[in-house]
């Protein structure tokens, strides 16, 4: 089987600060990581490969530094890594990103399953996976917490807020994976050394792809950002420290006063 895993290199948001003037993230000096749920997607592919054999191709669109994220994916066990990098791709919103990734997937050729993380911790849109599936015209299952392949179809559990839904889809298909799906493995020291010394990251530029230039980068992005601001931090919560029975009563009255219950 052939698995394609889409990954994004993101700033480690646990150590990110926001520029108060522009409202933008200060990216300088912030360590970058593979988007956490993309690692879950890669882990899902690695487990499936252990069961059914095959090839895992990781693909990322980003600046040349995203090479590091792809090397880490190779170290975890991916077989091939492709970096889509070109100034023409810069400034892409989710649609232009999905279109560009889709063009790269078409160049790769045959595949059985595309796995993406549910959403990235920097943009938080959760749109690229679904849009990519639409461009490629393949079935999609989002918010997947469990998956398996049975007789040429994928069976997955979709984790929704109020319920879990079991879906089946014919292959090829695209799934977006949540952090509940698995615990991503650590790359081994052997894998790390091989990723840098034995394996390659292929670089694909615009000219390598059959691509409509008006649909990529900033120009191909219908999204425009109206305003960026940091929301005021929420005030501290109140702790009611009475005896349990009294606390419950106070809480009940407060909630009722606010028409919550």
């Amino acid at each position: 089987m052939r698995f394609i895993v889409c990954i994004k290199q993101v700033p480690d948001t646990t150590s990110v600060k926001i520029d108060k003037r522009t409202g933008r993230l200060i990216r300088e000096g912030i360590p970058t990581i593979i988007n956490p749920e993309d690692k879950n997607a890669l882990e899902a592919a690695l487990s499936l490969k252990e069961k059914y054999e095959g090839e895992i191709i990781v693909i990322s669109m980003g600046p040349p530094q995203a090479d590091e994220a792809l090397r880490e994916a190779l170290a975890m066990g991916a077989d091939r890594a492709i970096l889509l990098t070109d100034r023409a791709f810069a400034g892409a919103d989710t649609m232009a990103t999905a279109y560009s990734l889709g063009s790269a997937v078409k160049k790769i050729g045959e595949y059985d399953l595309i796995l993406c993380g549910r959403q990235a911790i920097d943009g938080d849109t959760a749109q690229v996976g679904p849009q990519l599936a639409e461009f490629l015209k393949v079935p999609q299952i989002t918010y997947v917490s469990e998956l398996n392949i049975e007789e040429n179809k994928v069976v997955a559990i979709q984790e929704l807020e109020d319920k879990r839904v079991r879906w089946e889809a014919s292959l090829p298909a695209l799934l977006t994976i949540t952090s509940e799906a698995n615990k991503p493995r650590y790359p081994s020291a052997y894998g790390i050394m091989d990723a840098y010394r034995e394996k390659e990251v292929e670089t694909w530029e615009k000219k390598h792809l059959d691509i409509d230039e008006e649909r990529i980068g900033l120009e191909g992005s219908p999204t425009s950002v109206k305003r960026i601001f940091s929301p005021e931090p929420k005030g501290k919560g109140e702790i009611i420290k009475e005896e349990p029975k009294e606390s419950a009563e106070i809480l009940f009255n407060r909630l009722r006063a606010k028409n919550i219950i």
Partner: protein, 385 residues
């Protein structure tokens, strides 16, 4: 001069750091209290290729070099010296001497499974009447046909009861002493005549096991001589050169952890209406600690560079062990002082780290012995000049 660290070793550092935070930190309190060997974690470390970092790929290692190995030990040293000690005894004192001195057969038979972490290694030198004075060992190995017959007792051996492969220092010719009379042998667990004696209860590094090894007419095949007969002193000195370097790397990690914890605590602890960080007394302590960590790390990395470029590093490795263990013990004492009563309580890691640090000034040659090694190397340099 290029001080940058390659991207693969940075990824290795990040991976080991994550492993330590997620797998080591949660178990250390129990491990320390109960003196429990962290068996599960050692298995996990084996799976990650951490048990053979400096060993070449050809012999089952990761091929990460001395720098890769020491970076990993530094990260482990930040959270747990028990894990670091187990790894150090296995890698520096068992795997590395076999890679340096072993025959091809010995490497295939012992080094490959050791470096893959399928087997655990140990190194046995110390005896009731010999430690600092290594030439005074009394464990004998007498040739009898195709075997050496070992008799004697080794004490305080790290990993002794857990090890599958033990490098043992023996006397083959008492008259020759250190100059031709000492031989190292590779002894397998389960060899008839080898038994594990008392398991020690220790002040610190309580997760690492330390035990007595008893040899009673223990028959070891003659093929298991490591290096040449009578050249055992060279084998163990070269092994210790590596061991002291990785030990120093662990101390750098430990001292860095003391520094990080002290800064964090001092910035958050409010006394007299302000963080104690604003007191000059605290600032001086932290400035000293930061300077010493910086100095020790640079020493260690420089000595690693000497080793990796094939230069002599015996003196420097002894200096690194001496300096890094001293500054670790000073850093943990300062960190405890900054944390005050909180640092003294068992529910915070400072208390365990304080006990764990103390051994670093003693094992793999006391710091007093390191000074003798350094002075000895200086006098040799003088003679050569």
């Amino acid at each position: 001069m290029d001080y940058s660290i390659s991207k693969e070793l940075e990824l290795l550092r990040k991976t080991v750091r994550e492993f330590c935070e997620n797998e080591v930190v949660p178990v250390v309190e129990d491990m320390d209290r109960e003196g429990k060997f962290p068996e599960e974690n050692i298995k996990k470390m084996a799976k990650l290729g951490l048990m053979g970092l400096p060993i070449s790929k050809e012999y089952g290692g990761a091929g990460a070099g001395m720098l890769g190995y020491c970076i990993a030990v530094e990260e482990i040293g930040k959270v747990c010296n028990s894990h670091g000690t187990i790894l150090g005894a296995h890698t520096s004192l068992c795997c590395m001497p076999i890679e340096m001195f072993g025959t091809e057969e010995q490497k295939q038979k012992y080094l490959v499974p050791l470096a893959r972490g399928e087997k655990l290694g140990a190194f046995a030198l110390t005896e009731p009447n010999a430690g600092s004075d290594a030439a005074a060992i009394e464990t004998t190995a007498v040739r009898e046909g195709d075997y050496y017959i070992l008799n004697g007792t080794k004490i305080w051996i790290t990993n002794a009861d857990r090890a599958d492969v033990i490098i043992v220092l023996t006397v083959t010719d008492k008259a020759l002493g250190a100059r031709g009379g000492i031989t190292t042998l590779i002894v397998e667990k389960g060899t008839p005549g080898l038994s594990v004696g008392t398991l020690e209860d220790k002040m610190g590094i309580r997760g690492s096991s330390t035990a007595e090894l008893i040899f009673e007419n223990c028959r070891v095949p003659k093929e298991n001589v490591l290096g040449d007969v009578g050249a055992g002193f060279i084998v163990f000195m070269k092994g210790l050169d590596c061991g002291r370097l990785s030990l120093a790397a662990g101390c750098v990690g430990g001292a860095q952890a003391c520094l990080d914890a002290s800064i964090k605590f001092a910035m958050n602890r409010i006394q007299f209406g302000k963080p104690i960080w604003e007191k000059q007394a605290i600032q001086w302590m932290i400035a000293d600690m930061a300077t010493e960590v910086y100095a020790a790390r640079n020493m260690v990395y420089h000595a690693i560079w000497l080793k990796e470029t094939g230069k002599r590093f015996t003196k420097e490795s002894a200096m690194c062990k001496l300096f890094a263990s001293e500054i670790l013990c000073k850093a943990i004492d300062t960190a405890l002082q900054i944390h005050g009563g909180m640092g003294y309580m068992k529910k915070f890691p400072i208390e365990r780290m304080y006990r764990d640090a103390r051994i670093t000034r003693i094992y793999e040659g006391t710091n007093e012995i390191q000074k003798l090694v350094i002075a000895n190397m200086i006098s040799r340099e003088m003679r050569r000049a």
